[in-house]
Symmetry: C2
Subunit: 268 residues, 2 copies
């Protein structure tokens, strides 16, 4: 029987999902959290669909070692490719990153033209297209694979005055501006770190972080089920499939010193 | 009993090793080749040493399914981190990418100041430092992790007039020029594709491709053992641990339509 003290299980191919965790910390500081980063197999974005599904099933199988009240797929690639597989296989409330951001984009666009920035795998899956049209059937969606952004962010290059960041982002944003979009979804969990840089380059556009949207949707879902933890004090634990120290160092880029829990390496 | 018709086994974490294969095709067009790309686990450069060693052992174990006369570690990261492990475990003539490029750099530098461009894992291993000093004890080595280059190349961005390529390379080369190097080693198998762009930015420096140096060293080694295949006609086979079609498409960036053989997915 799940109760409010049970854990929120969050997984990602590596470290990007920490932007979702960071939003969860801010919105629901009392929640107990188990984060699994499949760092031995990152990045998922360049792998085949079949391989991504296998990895995702292993990730959730590991999380089931804990008393999990809700599962968050904190990886756009895994959410777009492996969501159905996970829903068939596991009996858990599953929250993703794509539906919340899609719902919000569908709602706030004024001209119905929405740009998606994402990995190649997410773009090819057309998951955002389907999901946005579910909420706004007339929306026009322009998806752009932005393969240089994850490497930039993972190397700590996301500041709005970094010349490489500006040049690469400008090139991508130019493509979307050509399509006259008024709303842009940052459809990869790495990209919220670039949110400020994006906003400074296209201040006239609405920018949606899929990580922030995911945390809001999770909060609403837990609230509806009476599973929101109200008592203070939270446990946070991190597990990774490659070196723990490596993860701890890289986590600094994503959440500063806000991890708030130990990191341990496990074999999955 | 090995003979000249046996295969040269080449492995890499993915596709970068194809620059070594390409140099082998050019220098030794008659050789039979088995290439293994561990695409399910790429990139190695961001993984821990222990993990890289495990993967490398699995890669070579797979190649031993064939009649292999020589093994080429076509990955600077694996060569720098897993070389000793492989030499202990397997009884095969093993050729790498680091020693040949180091030997050449040690020889051609005039001022004894050598710059190494490589992945973070290769830089941390200090393998180039040790190897260059073996041949030139007085050399001063300046190693620079260039983590943005692999993503650029893998996205087909290596042309010398690409503004992003120019900006990123200039930033890295500026660091090395500050150290007054006269020789630069492209110490990652992806980087030879950037050779022209590098040369056009620093025409005053000597630029060494670790892939080309590796192929030359392999040729010399096979010649010395009487194992060079003289008869014409070559068999080339490619095996990958993730999707074969994905590899075929990406291979276009590295060798154009020169693969000259089938690609098959295997589980290792």
């Amino acid at each position: 029987m799940k109760n409010e003290s049970s854990y929120i299980g969050i997984f990602d191919s590596g470290i990007g999902g920490l932007t979702v965790a960071r939003s969860v910390f801010r919105l629901m500081p009392n929640e107990n959290i188990i984060y699994f980063g499949d760092t031995a197999h990152l990045p998922y974005g360049t792998k085949s669909d079949k391989q991504i599904r296998e990895y995702a099933v292993n990730d959730v199988t590991f999380l089931q070692n804990f008393d999990i009240k809700a599962l968050v797929i904190a990886c756009n690639t895994a959410d777009s490719v492996a969501r159905e597989t996970l829903e068939e296989k596991f009996h858990l409330p599953i929250f993703g990153v794509i539906e919340p951001a899609s719902q919000r984009a569908a709602k706030i666009t004024r001209n119905g033209r929405i740009g998606i920035m994402a990995t190649k795998a997410t773009v090819n899956s057309r998951a955002y297209d389907r999901m946005i049209r579910k909420y706004n059937p007339d929306a026009q969606i322009f998806s752009l694979a932005c393969p240089l952004l994850v490497p930039l962010v993972e190397n700590g290059r996301y500041q709005k005055d970094d010349p490489v960041v500006k040049l690469v982002l400008s090139e991508y944003l130019e493509e979307l501006k050509k399509e006259d979009v008024d709303t842009i979804v940052l459809g990869c969990t790495h990209y919220p770190l670039l949110e400020e840089a994006v906003r400074s380059l296209v201040p006239e556009l609405s920018v949606i972080s899929s990580s922030e949207a995911a945390a809001r949707s999770l909060k609403a879902g837990l609230e509806a089920e009476g599973l929101l933890k109200e008592t203070s004090g939270s446990i946070r634990r991190y597990y990774v499939s490659d070196d723990a120290e490596h993860f701890r160092e890289n986590a600094l880029i994503f959440v500063g010193d806000q991890l708030g829990g130990e990191v341990e390496q496990v074999t999955v």
